[in-house]
Amino acid sequence: MSTTTHCPYCSLQCGMRLSRPEGSRTVEVSEWAEFPVNKGAMCRKGFTSAQLLRNPERLTTPLIKDEVTGEYRGVSWDEALDFVGARLADIREEHGADAIGIFGGGGLTNEKSYQLGKFARVAVGTSQIDYNGRWCMSSAANAGIRAFGVDRGLPFPLADIEETDVLVLVGSNMAETMPPAARHLSALREKGGKVIVIDPRKTSTATNADVVLQPVPGSDLALAQSLLHLIIGNCHVDEAYVAERTTGWDAVKASVMAWWPERGERVTGITAPELREVAEILGTAEKVTILTARGAEQQAQGADTVVAWINIALALGMPGKQYAGYGCLTGQGNGQGGREHGQKADQLPGYRMIDDPAAREHVAGVWGIDPATIPGKGRSAYELLDALGQENGPKALLVFGSNIIVSAPNANHVGSRLDALDLLVVCDMVMSETAARADVILPITQWAEESGTMTNLEGRVILRQRAITPPAGVRSDLEIISGLAERLKSPIAFSTDAEEIFGELGRASAGGKADYSGITWDLVAEQKGVFWPAPAGQVNADGTVGTERLFADRFFTPDGRANFIAVEHGGPAEEPDAEFPLYLTTGRVLAQYQSGAQTRRIKDLPDEGAFVELHPMLARRIGVVDGMSVTLETRRGAMVAPVRVTATIRQDTVFVPFHWVGANKLTNDALDPYSRMPEFKVCAARISTAEGAA
């Protein structure tokens, strides 16, 4: 007897089967070959994921920290919820509802994301809710909305990339971050297609590429401008498409005239001949697909960087054409769904904006409350953390599905903000670095112990099915939300039944951009996923429900046209200088996922700790060899780690994976003006050894 479900990690949400042989305590992972996204393929994170289920470090009792001794004591659920409920009520009474902050996550199911947003606005009455997805794909989301009027990571099924002619990956290391997706690269190349990889590091994804460009960190926007300049110069713009399906071209065309290739070369470090070669490949291909990921997006100009790449896709006439276009490779498991149902500071379910009166009225109707009681926009994720314990900032923070201490930028500062809180409540299944700072820790169920839907990187709603019984003593996030709502005297009750919540979520999203109203759990199971939008009553010719591909006829803008938007390269917020002469960039390694709270606890996944990757030339300059320990410093913090010397990275750049405490002590908290995305991917750093510095 096996259960079909999905991997607990990345946005690919690989289908898998979980089974427990008769009499065994061990849950086994096996292929679910019929699931279309991964067709049975998985990486080691996926097929070791069942080890999470019987992890010895699992928390199974609510814990309250003793104010005097600082020790945790185990308490009953009632005591824990009463305690938190009472403290929150007091804080709300004294400082107002906005003194309570809520921090969600892009790994939470759709149902949890929805309930959390509703809980914040209705039960607590706070505007102060945001989530770690802000640090994931918010730049791409913003760009997608500005250009296309909608944000669905991929507006087509992932497998479409096998059928394109040229695939451009801007800042994606998919071979490590979502390995089964990289199978499409090999398939595409076998069919004669070309892969172009853009990354300051020649990653394992780049080993499967026809062209690898290693630009200066933070110069992806300038790179796009230079390529568009050449595409225009080569007369490869699809003028008919531009005239029929877009607006704003003239301003964009003029804006890239200042990006002649030699200027691009000086800024990006990509030589003019390479720029010309790539522009020629793009301009002469019939089908071009451009995908961006965190490398391009996690910059203080991340949203405009994505816009610049979308401008190329539009100039070439690709979005809406079959097997071509632009897409974003979402990162977290429910990165897509997590941003659609209202846990974002400025949004209500269905991807509605919270300051839109019609949206407020609709959602209030579903919730059965007065629209005037829904708070307005709150602070974005980093701004929320930055405000904690400050005069006008929240005094209490509830954390669901996030390990802030590891994943937030400028972590030393964020740590000091968390410590300034009157009350920190963390819901987690293990003692994560953030949980370890909490006043109250609430132990929760995890992925295979509960059912719920996720929306993967393609906008495909999928169903994670409960495969095993959770251990005694843990509760689901939904139960915690419901319990706290009751104690906060919420005007409405909060269901704990995920399928029922999904039904309500569908009604709340009806008529919105991410319309789930025509989706049911049964349909999701039957179709192996349903793509939104899926308005109630809309059925495709073949009897299926959902919209696989977007933009064939029109974009989601009021006039149906895609918007060209003129943008300008400004460079990173912090450039290397005499004091901090190197670029630091961060990212992931194959065997770990995000903050590592889950994967670092799986014994079959190598946990080698953080390292500092650098080029042999730089290694010689500072006099280090592979394995030697160095101190890596920025203006915000320092870490010590061994070096890994490799010629695959730029000579002026060092790389540190962020799965461990360390990397994010160094990263810059400069925010993108549109998306409020921090600049994780580039800042200035220096390395020192016992002998000297560089």
Binding site: R44, W260, G269
Partner: protein
């Protein structure tokens, strides 16, 4: 609003910019971005909106369309509340009256004035260049403005097959124009008065390597030779040669356009002399940027320094305390088949010189290093490391002693065969499988089943196959 309130309100500052080239475009962009609190009037004497002059040689070459040069549409200026006047030629600047007069008699008052008048081509002393009526000989072309470019293209297109051209001047622009004409099928020769090509930027060895390149590309170069006379027979050189030609293009330099400043009584040496806020040393309400300005005894003919000046001036005009300390230029030749980059001023900068010249393959690479920092450089014939070297130059990175040398060496080729992989080397990262574990399997399918190798991203499939094949083969 009461009368005293109006009095209290300060009149908005009016900034008049003379010239509408690339420096002006950048200045206006930056002022808009910085929300400059004043009225901006731009006076450009050309009829076009501002265009990218750098692309003109590519237009001549046919590698860039002429209708894609505009930097900002007139609508953009209007949208930003900037008063752009094209075809508006300034006749005089009246410093006492604080106004400028256009050729049509219009007077425009200013509080602050920016001169961004650029440069004008100089005519070399060649007899017969100018006809009796003062106009240029019909065969002769300058190459500075869009109008020059259009006129030259028209002339080239009207030429019969087998026509010939001579480019006077072997500097960056001259070589670009020469290559562009060759690409268009015109047999082109270059005449350079000094002893070698690009004599302003590179040394004799570099110039010689370039000369060889051009020769291979079919362009004859005459160095150390001056054109002295244009007749119906051709262009006569001072070494006795006479070059038969249908076209003569003059690229032998330009000079800052300073007539307005001079007449207004401002100090002009080669350019309008400015201080560290780019203000005229005689009048701090008047500024000069770009090719027409002279700062610290230097005039520049390149866009990047002009843009740096524009940015700095915008910062100054919006109240920031800034100082211009000169620019580091990187000059790149834009011409098909010629690879040249010049960082800074390699022939006039103090430092240790590290260089590699290989005339056989046509490369000349040189770095001038001071205090382990690259302070200037020349790269001819091999630009594979230009991206990195430019970054190190721009960032003033302190290098190890051996690095300048390493930077000039060719990259080592990395060749590795899976056969040589040690047993503990990881082959499949997705499943964490070592080469040894693959070698222990007899077939690809067995490896797949037992180790899960190849079942993730699939990138290791070829290596796994190779390892299994080689394990089977007798060693």
């Amino acid at each position: 609003m009461s009368a005293d309130k109006i009095d209290q309100r300060k009149r908005r500052e009016r900034l008049v910019i003379v010239g509408n080239g690339m420096a002006t475009t950048r200045l206006v962009e930056e002022l808009v971005a910085r929300q400059y609190d004043g009225d901006i009037i731009v006076l450009g004497d050309e009829d076009h909106p501002a265009y990218n002059r750098i692309l003109l040689s590519a237009v001549l070459e046919g590698t860039h369309p002429i209708d894609a040069l505009t930097l900002r549409q007139p609508e953009w200026y209007a949208g930003q509340g900037v008063d752009l006047r094209t075809g508006a030629r300034v006749l005089e600047v009246e410093r006492e009256l604080r106004d400028v007069m256009l050729v049509d008699g219009t007077k425009i008052e200013f509080d602050k004035l920016v001169l961004a008048t650029g440069a004008i081509p100089t005519l070399p002393p060649i007899r017969g260049l100018v006809q009796l009526d003062g106009s240029l000989h019909p065969k002769v072309h300058a190459f500075r403005s869009l109008a020059d470019c259009e006129r030259l293209i028209e002339a080239v297109e009207a030429l019969p097959e087998g026509s010939r051209a001579v480019v006077v001047g072997g500097g960056l622009l001259g070589l670009q124009v020469a290559r562009a004409l060759s690409v268009r099928g015109v047999a082109t020769e270059v005449v350079e008065g000094t002893e070698h090509l690009l004599s302003q930027q590179v040394d004799r060895r570099g110039g010689t390597v370039l000369k060889r390149h051009l020769k291979k590309l079919g362009t004859e170069v005459y160095t150390g030779a001056r054109a002295v006379r244009l007749t119906d027979e051709g262009l006569k050189l001072d070494n006795g040669f006479s070059l038969e030609t249908d076209l003569v293009v003059l690229t032998a330099g330009g000079r800052p356009s300073t007539a307005l400043a001079r007449r207004a009584g401002l100090t002009v040496r080669r350019g309008v002399v400015v201080g560290d806020q780019l203000q005229s040393i005689d009048d701090d309400a008047i500024f000069a940027i770009g090719d027409c300005a002279e700062h610290d005894g230097k005039v520049t003919g390149f866009v990047p320094p002009a843009w740096e000046q524009a940015s700095l001036l915008a910062a100054h005009l919006t109240g920031e305390d800034v100082k211009y300390a000169g620019s580091r230029a990187v000059a790149r030749l834009r011409a098909t088949g010629l690879d040249v980059a010049v960082l800074g001023d390699p022939e006039h900068t103090e430092g240790d010189v590290v260089e590699v010249t290989n005339p056989i393959v046509g490369t000349h690479r040189k770095l001038v290093v001071d205090g382990n920092i690259i302070v200037a450089g020349t790269l001819i014939g091999d630009l594979s490391r230009i991206g990195l070297i430019t970054q190190l130059f721009d960032r003033r990175t302190i290098l190890a002693d051996s690095e300048p040398g390493e930077l000039l060496m060719a990259e080592r080729l990395e060749a590795d065969s899976s056969i040589l992989l040690p047993d503990e080397a990881e082959v499949c990262a997705c499943a964490g499988v070592s080469a040894g574990r693959i070698r222990a399997c007899r077939t690809f399918e067995e490896a797949r089943e037992k180790t899960r190798a190849t079942t993730g991203c699939g990138g290791c499939a070829s290596v796994v196959k190779e390892l299994i094949e080689s394990a089977k083969a007798p060693v």
